[in-house]
Symmetry: C2
Subunit: 148 residues, 2 copies
């Protein structure tokens, strides 16, 4: 029987007090749909989706009137992207952050799938003795299920 600690993969994390720029860089470099956010003690708290960070690249008045996007220059986008260094990850999180359920190191594939199915979440955190061992994504779970 395969257990969650064998299924878990390493995944970059940011902290609530990391800068938005650090989160954006990790999302970009690893081409992640979202990044795990931990508190100061390393406990996983939430997921910051890449699409949420994109919100901060576009001024609100442009989101409201897309025709303005045509005339907004790339230098403005550049400036906005780099202004992420002055924001914390905490301030970028959506009002209702996606849940990041926790599973135990000895949970089975079926248990992990049941958690993911019930909560409709794309990622779970694997913990052992309160320590984050890694994450399991929905696509990783499909890979393991199809290989059974």
């Amino acid at each position: 029987v395969v257990h969650a600690n064998q299924m878990a993969e390493q995944f970059p994390v940011v902290r609530l007090d990391s800068t938005g720029l650090e989160a954006a860089r990790l999302l970009a470099e690893h081409r992640l749909p979202g990044i795990v956010v931990t508190d100061e003690s390393g406990q996983p708290q939430s997921i910051l989706p890449a699409s949420q960070v994109v919100q901060f690249l576009v001024p609100t008045y442009v989101q409201d009137d897309p025709s303005l996007a045509r005339v907004l220059s790339e230098s403005m986008a550049d400036k906005l992207a780099h202004s992420l260094r002055d924001k914390t990850v905490r301030s970028l999180l959506p009002a209702e952050p996606a849940p990041l359920p926790q599973v135990d190191a000895d949970d089975t594939i079926v248990e992990v799938a049941a958690v993911m199915a019930r909560l409709h979440c794309p990622l779970v955190a694997v913990l052992a003795d309160g320590r984050l061992l890694g994450v399991i994504s929905a696509s990783r779970l499909l890979q393991l299920s199809l290989a059974l």
Copy 2:
């Protein structure tokens, strides 16, 4: 100025009448958070999230009572995974599928970001003359914005 056709990346797609197993295999092999679904004519319709496919690996009575997951064997999970070959992608899609906005080949980074920000979506389809050129993910957009 960078345009959407230069930003677009190739991405596997499935059709509404593809089997669930084919979608699951592509999601697993390419480790994708979701896959683009097209209609019979190749027009992009929606996204099938990997987490949605996971729903079909877990019987409803187990989703409702997670303690049952502990005693459900991997062979049952295996059987459920392979029963995806008898389902169409159409039948797996969520009741309210995630929007897959379309952008034009000559749209700028700022225009693509504006669409993504307004709709809170992780992926947009790039079309030229009604033909799907590829997709742009939120993380790809961050990569391009930070490199400006």
